[in-house]
């Protein structure tokens, strides 16, 4: 790790934040950003004076506070690492949950309440709503950073609720290990908003007073906001260019509890297993750990669970290792927390200074932890340290940082390879649910030959155990059905399976309904059951709980190519050995508001043959070939090449290998002139092009369906090779599949 950048309620850079942390300052105060009348807890940790970049008003209107904080922190990280995105293959990974929610809350509530016929007045002639909505999706944060600090070789935007920032770090590390990327800028950013404050208050998860992690009087969390970014590169590359490593990202582990959408599994066994795995991955043992930066939310449930997990993972060392939570100072920064606290943990190692748990006056004796109350202090050495991050739906991630050179080279994970650990990655199942019905391998393979009505009702409940599925909203239900179909009835040993699903805009219509209700009737009418369904990673969390998958789980966001981004991400995780099997794809419920406000934006509306928008879910099982063989799974196709790019793709597509034989075909989500132009530049130009939209309907999940159809066609010998080309605004993915 050669650079870092922070924007926190304690200060707008690393040094101001660090000074406040060590002094034990608490930034939690009454919220002034918006009206908090009627909120059970009205305090939070705000970032003062978020500065937007310079530019004309119509450009600035597309910036959220989340994106603005991300820009400041990512820029600081890149400057401190002396990293220029143009001088190397640099990747960007951004985690988050709220993105432009704060900027669009009032608009969403109004759009929910007003009929579409009044849009001309409601939206304004200058397209104010249009521009504001562009700041809304998670992808916007990545896009703004790409514009300001790029061009990056790769951009990924992901969400796993409150572990998003930590998962961004892991994804970046995996890219480095592949040898395909030289350096990564990874982190998270989340701005405070009415939706999260009302929602966490509805869950009774917030303390009306500033929070007190690990204290016997703790009554809940305090929300915060901010951004944290890290620059990570291989030690060899850092030394070669004369860059001084701050600390080393030595190990990590991610997994899912598959327990409950809001509550942690009380025994902490999953978290304990992840801490053990992360330490082992670093080539270290509990005896090498000198500090833990806890998730430490100060809720009655989290702190005992986390203490139990630490005791289980660290054994007797728990009596020696100091533990603190930064949330008593900066609050719970949600999607940014994992990255901000990773940066803090790395600084603790680098500066040999422990940071405190502020607000901890009377330690809860039942937790059995060694605390650092009130203020920080110097210590002789911090050889290695653990940073925990846990998210809604039980998506947990543990990071381990160490002093540079502390981990013996032979043990460390940070040795870039010439490629991925495994090049044999298979697709072993497909599932598609939409107006076409529920499709498995045979149906997907034959799909494009038949003509199906795309206005048929989609009923996921017909395929679900309704009792087990009662908390799942419609998008999660669609996802669960497609995922289970892909995984297959004979699937065994699901324990280690992960799930990654794309979500272009998150749950816009339900968020609008939730906001309208809370604005109209007051924050106390906010539904605690609905709130967890509003985070973009909610379908992933629900699916992992429903299907009892305990592998890595998160959502990716990349507009109409979100499904492709999820499948490519799954490929990268499996190929790097991080996971044996991931079910990946996308599930999208048609959003009336997105269609109304942003409809003109999308490629398909310009197309003469545009299909109607439908509810659609599609998933494929991405699996290591060795694992597929071990369990005797049917291998439909191999993934033989994956490309991804920002921009028009003309340069990136040059790396696409030509098909090996004649029986090759190109699968496209929708008819697209841009895709045709790219294909004409490749060895695939004379092969048939098959388009999915006429048979399936239009959806942001269509790209995932195209991959499912391609795999099914190869698996049933209709084709020997297939290229799936997925494009959205200035970004694209190419996924090549071939016969086993």
């Amino acid at each position: 790790m050669t650079g870092l950048g922070l924007v926190t309620p304690l200060g707008a850079d690393v040094e101001a934040t660090w000074a406040g942390l060590v002094r034990g300052e608490r930034a939690i105060a009454p919220v002034t950003l918006f009206d908090v009348a009627g909120q059970r807890a009205g305090v939070a940790a705000q970032v003062a004076n978020v500065t937007l970049p310079d530019g004309p008003p119509e450009v600035i209107a597309s910036w959220s506070r989340t994106a603005a904080m991300a820009r400041i922190a990512a820029k600081e990280a890149m400057l401190s690492a002396r990293l220029d995105a143009r001088e190397a293959r640099v990747g960007l990974v951004v985690g988050g949950t709220t993105a432009g929610m704060f900027e669009t809350e009032k608009l969403l509530a109004r759009l929910h309440a007003e009929p579409a016929s009044r849009d001309k007045r409601a939206l304004g002639s200058a397209g104010g709503a249009f521009v504001a909505m562009l700041s809304h999706p998670l992808t916007a944060t990545g896009d703004r950073l790409e514009e300001q600090l790029g061009p990056f070789s790769r951009v990924r935007v992901l969400s796993s609720a409150c572990s998003s920032g930590a998962n961004a770090v892991v994804v970046g590390a995996i890219w480095l290990l592949s040898g395909e990327i030289d350096a990564v800028v990874v982190g998270g950013s989340d701005g405070l908003c009415r939706l999260t404050l009302s929602g966490f208050n509805a869950l009774g998860a917030l303390d009306p007073e500033p929070c007190r992690p690990f204290d016997r009087r703790r009554r809940g969390a305090s929300l915060g906001e901010g951004a944290g970014f890290l620059v990570i590169e291989s030690a060899e590359r850092a030394l070669a260019r004369g860059s001084q490593p701050v600390a080393e990202l030595a190990g990590w582990a991610m997994g899912s509890e598959a327990h409950h959408i809001t509550n942690p599994a009380p025994d902490g066994s999953m978290v304990a297993a992840l801490i053990e795995r992360a330490i082992a991955r670093a080539g270290l043992s509990a005896a090498d750990i000198d500090y833990v930066n806890a998730h430490g939310t100060a809720t009655p449930l989290n702190d005992p669970m986390e203490a139990a997990a630490l005791a289980q993972a660290l054994g007797d060392e728990i009596r020696r290792v100091p533990v603190s939570s930064s949330k008593g100072q900066i609050g719970h920064t949600l999607g940014a927390a994992g990255a901000i606290e990773a940066a803090i943990t790395a600084l603790v190692v680098a500066r040999r200074t422990l940071v405190p748990t502020a607000g901890l006056d009377e330690p809860d004796p039942s937790l059995g932890l060694v605390h650092i109350p009130h203020v920080g202090h110097k210590t002789s050495r911090v050889r290695a340290a653990v940073s925990n991050a846990f998210g809604f739906g039980g998506m947990d991630t543990v990071l381990v940082f160490s002093e540079p050179e502390f981990v013996p080279k032979a043990n460390g994970p940070m040795l870039p390879r010439a490629g991925y650990a495994s090049s044999s990655i298979a697709i072993t199942g497909v599932g598609v649910l939409g107006p076409c019905g529920l499709l498995g391998v045979e149906d997907c393979a034959g799909l494009l030959q038949r003509s199906t009505p795309v206005d048929a009702a989609v009923d996921p409940d017909a395929y679900l155990d309704l009792e087990r599925a009662r908390r799942l909203d419609r998008t999660a239900r669609l996802a669960a059905v497609a995922v289970e179909r892909a995984a297959g009835e004979s699937d065994t040993g699901t324990e280690a399976t992960g799930v990654i699903l794309g979500s272009a805009f998150g749950n816009v219509d339900s968020s609008a309904a939730f906001l309208h209700r809370t604005f109209l009737k007051g924050p106390r009418s906010a539904s605690p059951a609905d709130f967890p369904n509003l985070v973009p990673s909610s379908p992933v969390g629900h699916v992992s709980i429903y299907a009892r998958y305990r592998g890595p789980s998160f959502a990716t966001a990349d507009f109409a190519a979100s499904g492709e981004s999820a499948i490519v991400q799954a490929y990268q995780l499996v190929a790097s050995g991080e996971s044996q099997r991931i079910v990946a794809g996308a599930a999208e419920t048609r959003s009336e508001i997105v269609d109304r406000v942003l409809g003109v934006l999308f490629e398909y509306t310009a197309s003469q043959t545009a299909a109607p928008r439908v509810d659609l879910a599609a998933a494929v099982v991405v699996e290591a070939l060795s694992e597929a063989r071990r369990r005797g799974a049917r291998v439909l196709a191999h993934i033989t090449q994956v490309l991804e790019w920002r921009g028009d793709g003309r340069v990136a597509i040059e790396a696409l290998r030509s098909p090996r034989g004649e029986r090759a075909e190109v699968l496209l989500a929708r008819a697209d002139g841009g895709a045709d132009e790219l294909i004409d530049r490749t060895g695939w130009r004379f092969h048939p092009r098959l388009v999915c939209a006429p048979a399936l309907g239009e959806s942001d999940a269509l790209g995932a369906a195209a991959v499912a159809v391609a795999a099914a066609r190869i698996g049933t010998a209709r084709a020997a090779e297939a290229l799936v080309l997925g494009l959205a605004r200035a970004r694209g993915y190419a996924i090549v599949l071939a016969l086993p």
Binding site: A202, I261, N263, L466, E467, R471, A526, A529
Partner: protein, 87 residues
């Protein structure tokens, strides 16, 4: 409103708000435990139920230990509602 009708109203609210699809409200017993072993509800359901009882029936449920007592069964909820209304 007589107590039996109030209990049925609460049962309907439970089925609707907690999305217990397929469950006939009339089959929920007055004294059956709602949480844990009984209907299998948990703390998130309790929060949702408290919010909807406040909204639909107009009676608020206190937080903490008292809520635990009130949410013991449909009968206990009905008794709490009747008590607040009678006061």
């Amino acid at each position: 409103m007589d107590s039996q009708r109030l209990r049925l109203q609460i049962k309907r609210l439970i089925v609707q708000e907690l999305n217990l699809r397929g469950r006939d409200p009339e089959t929920i017993e007055d004294d059956a435990p709602l949480f844990g072993a009984g209907l299998g509800l948990d703390s998130l359901d309790a929060l949702q139920l408290a919010m909807s009882i406040e909204e639909k029936i107009g009676v608020s449920i206190p937080e903490g230990e008292q809520a635990r007592e009130i949410f013991r069964s449909v009968r206990a909820i009905a008794e709490h509602v009747a008590k607040v209304r009678g006061a």
